[in-house]
C-alpha cells in the first residue's frame, strides 16, 4: 500500500493542479495519463466512471475528480489529501497575482502561447478519446451511444 500513500496522492494532485492549464476535460486527460497509463492504479473503466460522476455533480470538476480518485485509492483520507493538493496551487497562484495585480494587458506572446497550448490540448484530447473509447465500446450498442451523443453535442 506504500505506493498509494497519502503523501503520493497529495503530491500527484498538487502537480496535476499546478501544471495543468486549460479547463474542461484537460485535467481528466492529465489524470488518466498518470493514474491509468503510467501508474496503472486506475483502470480505463474507473477513469471513465470518475469522469462521468465528476461532470455530473455540481462544482468544479477538478475538485470532484480529486475527491473520487483520492477516495478510490485511499478512502476518505485519500480524498482529503487529493483535494488539498488540488486547492493549494490555484489558491497560491491567484493570491500572488491578486497581490501583484495592476493593469493586465494581453500581449502578442500570450496570444501565441494560448494558440500553441490549444494545439497541444487537441493532441492530448485526441489521445484520451482513443484510449478511453477502446475500453468503453465493447458492444455495437456502445458504438451507437457514442455516435448519437457525439452527433447531439455537435449539432446543439
Amino acid at each position: 500500500m506504500t505506493k498509494n500513500s497519502l503523501f503520493t496522492i497529495f503530491f500527484i494532485s498538487l502537480r496535476l493542479s499546478a501544471s495543468t492549464i486549460g479547463g474542461g476535460y484537460i485535467l481528466i486527460a492529465a489524470m488518466r495519463r498518470i493514474y491509468t497509463e503510467r501508474l496503472r492504479w486506475l483502470t480505463e473503466e474507473e477513469m471513465l466512471d470518475i469522469t462521468a460522476l465528476a461532470q455530473t455533480a455540481p462544482g468544479a470538476s477538478a475538485v470532484n475528480a480529486a475527491v473520487l480518485t483520492g477516495y478510490r485509492l485511499h478512502g476518505m483520507s485519500g480524498a482529503a489529501a487529493a483535494v488539498l493538493g488540488t486547492l493549494l496551487p490555484p489558491l497560491l497562484i491567484m493570491s500572488v497575482l491578486a497581490a501583484l495585480y495592476g493593469t493586465f494587458h494581453e500581449t502578442a506572446w500570450i496570444a501565441g502561447l494560448l494558440t500553441g497550448m490549444q494545439c497541444g490540448m487537441a493532441a492530448v484530447l485526441l489521445h484520451t478519446v482513443f484510449g478511453m473509447t477502446k475500453s468503453a465500446v465493447k458492444k455495437p450498442v456502445h458504438l451507437l451511444i457514442f455516435a448519437v451523443i457525439l452527433l447531439a453535442m455537435l449539432v446543439f
Binding site: S17, S19, T20, I21, I26, I28, A30, R33, E37, L48, D49, A52, L53, P58, G59, A60, S61, A62, V63, N64, V67, L68, Y71, A79, L87, P89, P90, L91, I93, M94, S95, L97, A98, Y101, G112, L113, L114, T115, G116, M117, C119, G120, M121, A122, V124, L125, L126, H127, M132, T133, A136, V137, K138, H142, I145, F146, V148, I149, L150, M153
Partner: protein, 179 residues
C-alpha cells in the same frame, strides 16, 4: 464577518454551478461583481484571461482572486474553501456509493452505457478545440503551422509517456515563437 460572507457566497456558487467551467461564469459574475461588488467588471474580465494561462478551475481562481482582493490571504482561503466544500461533501457521498454498488448488475450496466457517452463528450470537446486552434477565423481554412504543431504533439502523446501538461506547455512555448 467578511470572511463568513466570502465563505458563504462561494459555498453557494460551488453548490449551484452545474455543468462546470464556463457554465458557472454567469453565476460567479452576478455574485462577485453585481451583488457583492467585490470585483469590478474589468477585474473579472482579467481573471478570465488569467485563468486561461494559469492552472486551476475558473471558479476556484475567481474565489482565490476575489477573496484576496477583498480580505487578504485569509479571505482567499475562506473563499476557496467555501467554493470547494459543497463538491467535497456531495462527491464524497457519490464516491462511497460508487465503490459500494459498482459491482451490482443494474448499476454496472448503467455505467457501461454511460462510458461511451463520456467518450463522445470528450470527442466533441476535442472537435471544439480543433476548430478554435487549427482553423483560421478569417478565412475558415486550416492554419498550416497549427496543424503541424497539432500533428507533432499528437505524435508525442501517442508514442511517448510525457505527462499531458508537459506536452501542452511545450506546445505553448512553440506557439510563442511560431505565431
Amino acid at each position: 464577518m467578511l470572511y463568513l460572507a466570502l465563505f458563504f457566497q462561494f459555498f453557494l456558487i460551488g453548490a449551484l454551478s452545474f455543468g462546470g467551467g464556463y457554465a458557472s461564469l454567469t453565476l460567479i459574475q452576478s455574485t462577485v461583481v453585481e451583488k457583492q461588488g467585490w470585483l469590478t467588471s474589468a477585474e473579472f474580465a482579467d481573471i478570465l484571461t488569467l485563468s486561461e494561462i494559469t492552472p486551476g478551475p475558473i471558479a476556484l481562481n475567481a474565489a482565490s482572486f476575489a477573496g484576496f482582493r477583498t480580505a487578504g490571504i485569509a479571505g482567499s482561503i475562506a473563499a476557496t474553501l467555501g467554493c470547494a466544500a459543497p463538491s467535497c461533501i456531495l462527491v464524497s457521498v457519490l464516491a462511497v456509493l460508487y465503490m459500494k454498488y459498482r459491482k451490482c448488475a443494474l448499476f454496472s450496466n448503467i455505467l457501461a452505457a454511460v462510458r461511451p457517452a463520456v467518450c463522445a463528450m470528450i470527442a466533441s470537446s476535442f472537435m471544439t478545440i480543433v476548430s478554435i486552434a487549427l482553423i483560421e477565423p478569417s478565412s475558415g481554412t486550416p492554419n498550416a503551422v497549427s496543424v503541424m504543431l497539432f500533428a507533432g504533439t499528437s505524435l508525442l502523446m501517442f508514442t511517448q509517456k510525457f505527462p499531458a501538461a508537459a506536452v501542452i506547455l511545450f506546445s505553448g512555448m512553440c506557439g510563442v515563437f511560431l505565431f
